[in-house]
């Protein structure tokens, strides 16, 4: 049977994994709709955290969160219009590099605007950990995991049951046919980016509350790649599964492998796992192999 130590590691891994999944969701939304690969996801999260932390010094926490969401949504609209729309139909590397450029721009601008010091962002929840039998769970992690679950619920419902969701699925499936059916493809590209803004801002608030807000917050974005690759780039369910797997693998490797080799395996174990999965299933667990025409 599993001992208490393992159970704690797994439980914490699952909670952290749900929070990774939330950020990965932002990534998947954009990739699904626009086939753009967003390397600036971590910087979006960081920007959301900074806006919220700066606003929270004068405003209540919830208002600050809303401000962060509004700020990022506005930014994403602008980004889509000015940078990504001109790059439609260009090779993958153009879009990758554009988002790397955006990432670097954000890292510069945010620090120039808000300063490089670490800001605290306190969530109005209790600080004492919650005990579930032998398992100790930090409340912020629980809030984060619950928020992710709620948003996954909302997005799944939206994709399946609203007209907007239907249109987004159509755009994701085939842009040309969707536009022939009278769907304004560009509008849904903008909407996809805006939704990413919402998710990233929430991610920024949660991760900011967890780690403190500074430019290191963007590093969370690097965790997204193993998550989305494990799940498959275009799969919302894959984002959850990938997130949970990465969370647990990280947690277990920091608990068991780190003492053996001297630390730091947490950061690259998910990547090792990812390469192993890629060799077996080149398009992730839930991803679809693209049909290519010459």
């Amino acid at each position: 049977m599993l001992d208490a130590f393992t159970l704690i590691l797994i439980a914490n891994g699952l909670l952290v994994g749900m929070m990774y999944a939330l950020i990965a969701l932002g990534f998947v939304l954009v990739y699904k709709a626009t086939e753009a690969f967003n390397f600036a996801q971590g910087e979006f999260v960081m920007t959301g955290g900074f806006i919220a932390a700066a606003a929270a010094t004068v405003l209540p926490f919830w208002v600050a969160t809303l401000l962060a969401i509004a700020g990022l949504v506005a930014f994403c609209f602008g980004l889509e219009r000015l940078v990504l729309r001109p790059l439609l139909g260009r090779p993958i590397i153009a879009v990758i590099m554009a988002t790397i450029g955006v990432a670097s721009l954000l890292r510069g601008v945010v620090v120039l605007l808000f300063g490089s010091g670490t800001r605290a962002l306190t969530m109005p929840v209790q600080q004492t950990p919650i005990f579930l039998g032998p398992i100790m769970l930090p409340p912020i992690d629980i809030v984060g995991a619950v928020v992710s679950l709620v948003f996954f619920g909302i997005f799944s419902w939206m994709f399946l049951h609203t007209r907007m969701g239907l249109a987004m699925r159509a755009v994701a499936d085939n842009q040309q046919i969707a536009s022939a059916m009278g769907i304004d493809v560009r509008r849904y590209f903008a909407i996809a980016w805006a939704l990413t803004g919402v998710v990233s801002a929430l991610g920024g608030v949660i991760w900011g509350a967890l780690l403190g807000v500074d430019n290191q917050l963007a590093v969370v974005g690097l965790k997204v790649f193993p998550v989305v690759i494990l799940g498959g780039f275009e799969s919302v369910a894959g984002a959850i599964v990938g997130g949970l797997v990465v969370g647990v693998v990280e947690s277990l490797s920091s608990g068991y492998v780190d003492p053996l080799v001297g630390g730091g395996t947490k950061d690259f174990m998910p990547y090792v796992l990812m390469i192993a999965v890629l060799m077996v299933r080149p398009y992730g667990i839930f991803g679809k192999a693209p049909v290519q025409r010459v």
Binding site: F37, V83, P86, L87, R90, P91, I92, I93, A94, I96, M97, A98, I100, G101, V102, A103, S104, L105, L106, R107, G108, V109, V111, L112, L222, F225, P226, I229, F233, V261, G262, G263, G264, T265, D267, F268, Y271, V272, M274, I275, L278, M279, P282, Y283, Q292, V294
Partner: protein, 354 residues
């Protein structure tokens, strides 16, 4: 290159692929060499020479990356890690077996080529974005291994002191000596890449990049071509890493982080993907960017009330860096090389342009 080629109409493939399309191109090249070998070292201040040395290292690295990403179309975000492999291999050989540089540097390149081929193996099954992320994984894994395997890194700081390279018994130490030392390697890399680009293999790489299935149908072994591209590119990148650590006097994994990978990608984007001249222009551009930023801020600083906060320099550099990448991608996706060719095309029939 720097000459007008009005009125030349190529009638054979050999003429089209020639390195020197006109006699004047030899003269132009000789002129460039004269400037690089005589004028620049005489006129440049020690600080300017330092910048030149850094540019020369970056030229070698950018050419290496451009072979993989620009010619063969395999996006690599593991540049920093590959450079680190070359650097540590050379450092290890130079210190433990006190190998001379002309053995240690190629050995660093070979080791990197081995690692590069290993990283390239997944390209059999995965491509595009997935492969890009696999190279990102390589970056993290290499960094971690160097940092944690004490046999490689030689202790907790993961830093190895390098002896200066000796050419005919003369230790290369001053900036000027390093300038000539590095210039030799940069020229070698340039000539090698120019010839690679017009070889059968180079053209096969371009075919795989442009349309891999079509390339396979006309008889190119895709997997083999990709792996060779990984090997050649990694070799040059490893040499660049070894050169950089010789230049710094230490091999340190912190010099080869993810930001290095991004810098080099920016070099080939801004310079021009799939262009050797572009790699050189991009390497110079990105290396000069922080220098110009610092000078520029110092110059415009007094305009602002209370002066300019000098601590903001890295951030301003990041902003400029990101902004320029985006600008080039949106406005001139083929980079500086294309801008230069546009200028040349304009002057081709100048002043009778109609």
């Amino acid at each position: 290159m720097i000459f007008r080629e009005a009125g030349t109409f190529k009638t054979s493939y050999a003429a089209d692929m020639a390195l020197y399309p006109l006699p004047v191109s030899r003269w132009a090249l000789a002129g460039i060499f004269a400037v690089l070998l005589l004028v620049l070292p005489l006129l440049a201040s020690p600080y300017a020479l330092t910048v030149c040395d850094l540019i020369l290292v970056a030229v070698v690295g950018a050419i290496g990356l451009n072979i993989l990403t620009g010619f063969a179309g395999q996006i690599s975000i593991g540049q920093g890690g590959f450079m680190a492999v070359g650097a540590y291999t050379a450092a290890k050989l130079a210190t433990v077996w006190s190998m001379p540089f002309w053995l240690a540097i190629p050995a660093g390149g070979l080791m990197t080529a081995l690692v590069g081929v290993f990283v390239g193996i997944p390209s059999l099954r995965i491509k595009g974005l997935y492969l890009a992320i696999a190279t990102l994984a390589a970056q993290f894994i290499i960094e971690w291994v160097i940092n944690h395997v004490t046999w490689i890194s030689g202790g907790i700081q993961a830093t190895i002191q390098m002896p200066p390279p000796r050419v005919f018994g003369v230790p290369i130490q001053s900036q000027l000596q390093f300038y000539f030392f590095l210039l030799g390697f940069a020229v070698l890399a340039t000539v090698a890449a120019k010839n690679f680009a017009r070889s059968r293999l180079g053209r096969a790489c371009v075919a795989v990049r442009d349309q891999d299935i079509a390339a396979e149908i006309i008889g190119i072994d895709i997997f083999r071509t990709k792996l060779i591209a990984f090997a050649i590119s990694s070799f040059i990148v490893g040499v660049a890493g070894a050169l950089y650590s010789y230049y710094l006097g230490i091999a340190n994994y912190e010099q080869f982080g993810l930001d290095v990978s991004v810098d080099y990608l920016a070099m080939i984007i801004i310079g021009g993907m799939g262009s050797v001249n572009g790699s050189i222009l991009g390497a110079a551009f990105i290396t000069l960017l922080p220098v110009v930023t610092r000078r520029g801020l110092a110059a415009i600083g007094p305009i602002f009330a209370g002066g300019f906060d000098i601590d903001g320099v890295p951030e301003v550099r990041l902003c400029l860096f990101g902004g320029l990448i985006i600008l080039f991608l949106v406005a001139e996706p083929e980079g500086l090389d294309r801008l230069w060719r546009n200028v040349r095309t304009y002057f081709r029939t100048w002043p009778f342009s109609y």
